[in-house]
């Protein structure tokens, strides 16, 4: 092969390497756009929802253009980010008691999550809906469940949310606790650690995928209007993702996430 041909081949290789690197920047740009849209939602909900819709449209087109490639799977999974906000803002929830709002939003979101899983050909095990190696993971799962309690206390002192009911009643506690466990803990873990992280891990490096998904998760907490909470949630998301990476299961973190929310909204407001 002459020198010109070798140089041309090297040039082509360099272009493809550069293209690959640029492809790996796009998910971060989408994540940043979601953060900007969330900031807009806090100021002008209309503009925020329009930006979320635009991000959704671009993600749909991008995933269709790159169909059946790993980056397409990540873009499809990312659709769930803007969808969370579009669903929570467009559902007419004013007539319902506050506790049912979580259930109302999680139902269409879970439906969307399972469509995404099907498009990406993920089985339940691929999404971490399994216990994994119980002999190796039992202790980690138990510790993870229990970590929900201190996480709930920490987030309570950051957000200080209003209690859902006027007085603490153990009978009234059961249904809201189940709603928090399934509609926030389980649903959000399926979306973020089950689908988004799985899709990111197939396309990006392990560290990059952990930070990207944790960033998206934290960005969707901007509407809490607390910078400390966003940082706290980012750290918790990294911790949850590391547990999922270690055990291959989202069940432990889903229960921990549920316990965090139960204690945050249903227990600590009555004790502090």
């Amino acid at each position: 092969m002459n020198q010109k041909a070798v140089r041309a081949l090297n040039g082509q290789e360099q272009v493809s390497i550069l293209k690959e690197k640029i492809d790996k920047i796009y998910p971060w740009l989408f994540a940043l756009e979601m953060a900007v849209a969330e900031l807009l939602v806090t100021v002008k909900p209309w503009y925020g929802i329009v930006l979320h819709m635009l991000i959704l449209a671009v993600l749909l087109i991008s995933s269709a253009v790159a169909y059946e490639k790993p980056r397409s799977k990540l873009y499809i999974a990312f659709i769930l980010g803007p969808l969370i906000r579009i669903l929570s803002l467009s559902l007419p929830l004013a007539h319902l008691p506050r506790i049912y709002w979580y259930a109302a939003v999680s139902f269409p979101l879970l439906a969307g999550a399972f469509v995404v899983a099907r498009l990406n050909s993920y089985s339940l095990a691929d999404m971490g809906l399994r216990w994994g190696n119980l002999r190796r993971n039992t202790f980690i799962h138990i510790l993870t469940f229990l970590s929900g309690i201190p996480l709930g206390i920490a987030e309570y002192f950051i957000l200080r949310p209003e209690p859902i009911f006027k007085t603490f009643n153990p009978v009234e506690f059961i249904l809201p606790a189940l709603i928090f466990l399934i509609c926030t803990g389980f649903t959000e873990e399926v979306v973020f650690r089950g689908i988004m992280y799985r899709a990111a891990a197939d396309f990006l490096s392990p560290i990059s995928s952990i930070f990207l998904i944790s960033f998206v998760f934290a960005a969707l907490h901007i509407t809490h209007l607390s910078l400390i909470d966003v940082v706290f949630v980012f750290a918790v998301a990294v911790y949850f993702t590391l547990i999922v990476k270690r055990t291959g299961s989202i069940i432990g973190v889903a229960i921990a996430h549920g316990i965090t929310n139960i204690s945050l909204y249903l227990i600590w407001p009555y004790f502090f």
């Binding site: 803002l89 467009s90 007419p92």
Partner: protein, 86 residues
């Protein structure tokens, strides 16, 4: 009045008057996506089934991820309106 109700990711910041407008917006987005899906499906049929999936076919498939949750939202809005009228 702006009310803020928060869970971890399911956050709602909306006034009651704004909620109706945002619901309308979601319905318009759903209609737009259904039209896009129909056009993409028709284009895919016209191109015929080869070995690989065409862009139109791929777009037709991925649109389902947004259409199905928005359809549920639409159903919820309709049921709420009917209950309001009754």
């Amino acid at each position: 009045m702006i009310s803020t109700v928060t869970s971890t990711t399911v956050t709602t910041i909306a006034s009651t008057t704004m909620a109706a407008g945002l619901g309308l917006f979601a319905t318009l987005a759903l209609i737009f996506m259904l039209i896009a899906k129909e056009l993409a499906g028709a284009q895919d049929v016209q191109l015929g089934k080869g070995g690989s999936v065409s862009y139109a076919g791929a777009f037709d498939n991925v649109l389902n991820a947004a259409i199905i949750p928005l359809l549920i939202v639409f159903g919820f809005i309709v049921v709420t309106k009917i209950i309001d009228i009754l």
